[in-house]
Symmetry: C2
């Protein structure tokens, strides 16, 4: 039986989520604290020591760029520079291992088993501290020539908005408006400080006009970005995930309206759904990627 078993391992900045799967069936799951001290060198040994039996394969999801050859090109939140964690994992466990970006992993999970189930092509948008995305076309995750496909957060909305300085070095990137951090920044520009994103969303939904204008601006720009991505890849459906998407239908309807404002007419039928797998999306998608 163990030769049909796969580990899906989602490495976050504070916790590693590990799932043991047989096909799409989750047999067992647990978590391991992420020890980022000392360049994160304990992370892979800690994961290896936690495993519960042999498996035919495994995959790691990491919060950073992954090149097509499996080289991880910096994960600031883990303390990692350029490294090959799959080699270390296989050396310790004997289990063949792949690696992918965490937003890409969540995209695959949501497309196969979550908000995008039933669609062969899905744009998944992860609205968290930043804005990540993943592109599934013709049933396969498409990570791009340099592993950077789906960088929706770095579409340039306004190259003249010097208040929106992005960590990537550019000005006016979408994630400076539409991420949790971006929404808090817009609220602050509107004179409301000291709130986290959820409080901004809740107050807006409860009728605070000033904060609703903030959320409307964020959703307008997100709808523009999704319309732009759909003009390029034309997926059947878009799935909204990440912490900001926990605002649910309130967010989805505003994004849908903005999408329809900007979308090329032939893309208007694109369905926009909410993610359904929550914080397990990455772990599930990672296991599916291991099996692919």
């Amino acid at each position: 039986m163990e030769n049909k078993r796969y580990y899906g391992i989602d490495i976050g900045g504070t916790t590693v989520k590990v799932g043991l799967f047989e096909g799409e069936k989750l047999l067992d799951k647990w978590s391991v604290p992420t020890v980022t001290a000392d360049g994160g060198r304990q992370i892979i040994p800690d994961i290896a020591a936690s495993l519960r039996g042999p498996a035919a394969g495994a995959a790691l999801a990491v919060p950073g760029a992954v090149l097509p050859d499996g080289t991880v090109n910096r994960c600031v939140n883990l303390g990692w520079g350029v490294c090959r964690p799959t080699d270390e994992f296989t050396a310790l466990t004997g289990i063949p291992c792949k690696v992918l970006n965490d937003a890409n992993a969540a995209a695959l999970g949501e497309q196969r088993l979550g908000g995008g189930k039933g669609f062969e092509s899905v744009l998944f948008v992860a609205l968290g501290t930043g804005v990540g995305a993943g592109v599934v076309l013709d049933g396969r995750l498409r990570v791009g020539a340099r592993g950077t496909a789906g960088e929706l957060g770095h579409l340039c909305w306004d190259p003249a908005d010097t208040t929106a300085q992005c960590t990537c070095g550019h000005i006016g990137c979408l994630e400076q408006y539409c991420s949790a951090t971006g929404i808090v920044r817009l609220a602050s520009q509107a004179g409301v400080t000291g709130m986290i994103c959820k409080q901004v969303m809740d107050a807006a939904a409860a009728g605070d006009k000033r904060l609703e204008a903030v959320v409307d601006k964020a959703c307008d720009i997100l709808g523009w970005g999704i319309a732009s991505a759909c003009a390029i890849v034309d997926p059947e459906a878009v799935v909204l995930g990440g912490g900001v998407a926990l605002a649910g239908e309130y967010l989805r309807l505003k994004v849908q309206d903005a999408f329809e404002k900007y979308a090329f007419h032939a893309c208007l039928g694109t369905e926009i759904h909410l993610a359904t797998l929550g914080s397990d999306a990455g772990m599930i998608g990672t296991a599916l990627y291991a099996m692919d």
Copy 2:
């Protein structure tokens, strides 16, 4: 031998280009005038009557939207509404037939045998009366769920620029600045009227500062659009084709500069090349599509 032969048929608004291929080898080519009168009903019979012997397959490239099931959804330049030209073609000739959009056909031709040769993933940009594009990923043309992948021309650059009213119904679409028509429009805004696009490009290249500013603006916006598309699909290379790209290196270098200004850092290695197949790109790509 004829069971290895394929027709590539590129239907333009004034001329149909027909090529007879054996694999990638062009055996013969000719053209047929496009008779658009009477709803373009003579176009397919004229093509069928021009064929030079049997073949294993054929494909048609058309200047309009093509749904994944092969339905053509309006080709204004041909006089066609919603129709299925492949059914008519096969009924007249007995040859199995596919259909695709003309920019997509040129994308496939340039990726396999032209400016994108050697790359498995290419974004092809056709700079003509409008701006079309095609996306080849992992060696296959990706036309999208509704056949509208690669609508680079309808990325929204400036939703507030009411001088840039697009035929699609939106405001500020990229093709209102970067197509031949768009460049002539920008020249007119700069006070230079009565020139065609080639004259604007030539005068700018010869040192006319006012027109060089026009070309710089067009290239800045095109570089932004290409950077946006690369952030979503991350191709190995971009190929610039269509009439405007006949300006050659003068155009390519300006687009490269603008791309580097806007591109996400991990995409900076993306190569930008000029198309090499000229006006045969669509016919060649159409034949390759017939063989796929």
